[in-house]
Amino acid sequence: MTIVKNRLFWPVAILVALLIVNLFTSNQFITLQDGHLFGALIDILRGSAPLILVALGMTLVISTGGIDLSVGSVMAISGAVACLLIKDLGDQNATGSVLLIMGVAIAVSAALGLWNGSLVAVVGIQPIIATLILMVAGRGLAQLVTDGQIINVQSSPYATVATGFFLTLPVAFLIAMAAVALILVLTRRTALGLLLESVGGSPSASRLAGIRAKRITVMVYVVSGAFAGLAGLIYSANIKSADSIAAGNLIELDAILAVVIGGTALIGGRFSIAGTVVGAILIQTLQVTVVSIGVPSKATLLFKAVVVVVLCLSQSATFREKVFGRFKLRSEVPA
């Protein structure tokens, strides 16, 4: 009973159910091949990396009561910056230079996050509007960087980020897990998590408790920007090019969904990193499943919507009460 009541029970149950469907529909679910793991499950883990990264940042932003709509655009900018710089390298396979360039792209993304955070915390613009600015302008910025072209690169160290394997696991997934670990340590081993939840719960009370709420708010947008930048690199490394239009298109919505599925309320306050990871993997699995069970492409969005509705209903206390409540025994009434 207590397991069922856990807020992650239903997301995990649906995730497991989807994975079981994949177990039967995919040719190979998981096998060892060419010295690394291979199969539908591994594809899911690899493919979910960008979403996990974006959703992680989104979780922190949402915990402060904000939202970051610009993540998709930041992904596009990050990929564009990286590809532009790599293309100009004398040797595109120079690992050191590629790593440096990736660092630059992430720094640019963090700076964009700083812009968002400053608009929200210092200027006092509502988060949804503040980040909408960059959401719209960002794609234009990315197109300026790439001069409206799709920039192709032939860099194997860069490609490794998305398609490589390390210790039999996809590098992209390992990067995402490292980010999860980093955030878990930052929020749960330091007092950052408490301060975040406090700022999200009540900014004015937090300020009077001596918390410098503005700094914390700026910081979460910076983290969100940096993680979106990293996700943008994985996305662009995967297709070995910078596509300013398609990169991270609508990912902000999937990320918000992942956060909500994970049990973090949109109004801010309490947040769950583990929940967000489950949510992100669930969404990715759903996307893969839609293809693997042969839902016609015209109906995939609808199918996805249905699963999401079921999931949200399963998490709604009111709905559960209505459906299951009547079977519950009434508590003892002494005379």
Binding site: T190, E197, S198, G201, S202, S204, R207, G269, S331
Partner: protein, 510 residues
């Protein structure tokens, strides 16, 4: 336990309500007769709020039955309660201040013709209704143009217009000043004469004795008894509520008397010279010494809170000089004040105090953690140690540190806030209305605590609307009027409530 000749309009018997781990109501009986004001008394956590929520359909009962006008009823929700003739007005007014008075009264049930709202009729009926309560308001003005007291009366007008059998007033007076309370009582008496049964909750004993006919006392979810107010002396009432002798309260009285003479050698902690903020508080001078309790007295809106906020950096002063330990400082934000040993507990417990979603433990350590910065978390074992100590020392109930603070009663939330600041070991504690809306027991405990802290050398700036309290605790009293500090006087033998009232009334500087 005499009772009126008529039958009760509301009769609750053997009401039981259980929450996980807590029996909130354990076989409670409650009767309400038409045309009476019946006070529901009890400490925080005694079950008053639960009983009211049962009546208003917020909670379903686990046992017992409710009869309205002799018929057994099941109150399934707030709408059902309203239909059954039970209306409630809460401490915090649940109206839309941006709408007009008339709109607020008729919201959701506007007089219509062919789907169109008949504004004229609505305004006329609103004016008539208010006139019946002796209120002369501009019904087409936004509600926000009126004081909180008037807003509350508009809420009452709305409530009685919807259904007029039982009216529940849950701490309606806690943020009203004396004349506003009088106005409210006039309205209550009028309704009583019309046969409305009024259930009244207030923490002010004087008000209970002024307005109520009978009272019911609850303690720890159990019924202690039902009495005629006139036949139950105050002291006995308090004893029944807290279930122990009044020794605590009285010893406090002695203590405060003893310690009123502050040591003359104490060093000043904080000195304000001409500190002010345009539109909030006129420039004032104030010095606070070690171990001194400075009381701020004045009416609601006299600038008490504004003054306190400047000394904590919650608002920035735009003129004057402030020095702490003799060193001049400009407080730009609360953390700067905290670093210099100042703590501030706001009067708005819910919006500027507690973080409702967080646990008692997290709320308590919050300020200390903020002072240490996020990179230096307080080890969990240390947290538990501190929190346990203060939960015990301040008898915070329920004594479960992991419970969300939102679920605690007002008095216990206040204690959590005090604990939050005490663990930062401040040298100057600024507390704004710490005893508002909490029961006598908790009130006495908090007053006792303030006296003890001051004896231990902590300076306290104590802001309260209750003169008695200010007089009992303070060494020095600063009186405010119209956003101006008008007088500062030592709390010596000659100073009493009348003396301060005079200053408040006349604004004279002697």
């Amino acid at each position: 336990m005499g009772e009126p000749a008529t039958d009760p309009v509301l009769e609750m018997t053997g009401i039981r309500k259980v929450f996980p781990g807590v029996v909130a109501l354990d076989g409670v009986d409650f009767r309400l007769y038409p045309g009476e004001v019946h006070a529901l008394m009890g400490e925080n956590g005694a079950g008053k709020s639960t009983l009211i929520k049962v009546l208003t359909g917020v909670y379903e009962i686990d046992g017992g039955d409710i009869r309205l006008g002799g018929e057994q009823v099941r109150i399934a929700g707030p709408l059902a309660a309203q239909k059954a003739g039970i209306s409630t007005v809460y401490q915090e007014v649940n109206l839309c201040t941006n709408l007009t008075v008339a709109e607020n009264i008729f919201i959701g049930r506007e007089p219509r013709a062919f789907g169109k709202i008949r504004w004229g009729v609505m305004r006329k009926r609103a004016a008539e209704l208010l006139k019946r309560l002796d209120l002369d308001l501009d019904v087409s003005a936004p509600l926000s143009t009126y004081s909180l007291a008037i807003q509350q009366m508009v809420a009452i007008a709305r409530a009685v217009d919807i259904s007029a059998r039982v009216l529940i007033l849950d701490e309606p007076t806690s943020s009203l000043d004396a004349s506003e309370v009088e106005q409210l009582f006039r309205v209550m008496r009028r309704l009583k004469d019309d046969g409305v049964a009024i259930l009244f909750v207030s923490h002010f004993l004087d008000q209970i004795y002024e307005i109520s006919d009978r009272l019911t006392v609850l303690r720890n979810g159990q019924l202690i008894g039902e009495y005629r107010t006139a036949e139950l002396p105050q002291v006995q009432l308090v004893e029944k509520m807290i279930g122990k002798e009044l020794a605590t309260l009285e010893s406090l009285e002695d203590k405060a008397q003893r310690s009123r003479t502050r040591s003359a050698t104490a060093a000043p902690i904080l000195q304000a010279k001409g500190i002010g903020r345009t539109g909030a508080i006129a420039p004032f001078d104030l010095t606070i010494h070690e171990g001194e309790v400075v009381g701020l007295a004045g009416l609601l809106g006299s600038g008490r809170t504004e003054l306190a906020r400047l000394l904590f950096g919650a608002d920035k002063a735009d003129q004057g000089e402030l020095s702490i330990d003799g060193k001049p400082v400009t407080l730009r934000d609360p953390q700067m004040a905290m670093k210099r040993g100042i703590a501030f507990s706001s009067e708005n417990r819910r919006t500027e105090g507690i973080i409702g979603d967080l646990s008692v433990r997290e709320n308590i350590i919050l300020a200390l953690q903020a002072a240490r910065g996020w990179t230096r978390p307080i080890p969990r074992r240390k947290q538990d140690e501190i929190v346990d100590k203060y939960v015990k020392a301040l008898s915070i109930r329920p004594a479960d540190p992991e419970r969300p603070v939102r679920n605690l009663s007002g008095g216990n939330q206040q204690k959590v806030l005090l604990a939050r600041w005490l663990i930062t070991e401040p040298r100057l504690l600024i507390i704004d209305e710490p005893t508002r809306g909490i029961d006598v027991g908790a009130k006495a405990e908090i007053q006792k605590l303030v006296a003890e802290l001051s004896d231990g050398g902590m300076a306290v700036l104590f802001v309260s609307a209750e003169l008695e309290e200010v007089l009992r605790l303070s060494h020095k009293i600063a009186v405010l009027r119209d956003r101006r500090l008008v007088e500062e006087l030592d709390n010596t033998a000659g100073v009493d409530a009348d003396r301060i009232m005079q200053t408040i009334a006349s604004g004279a500087t002697s």
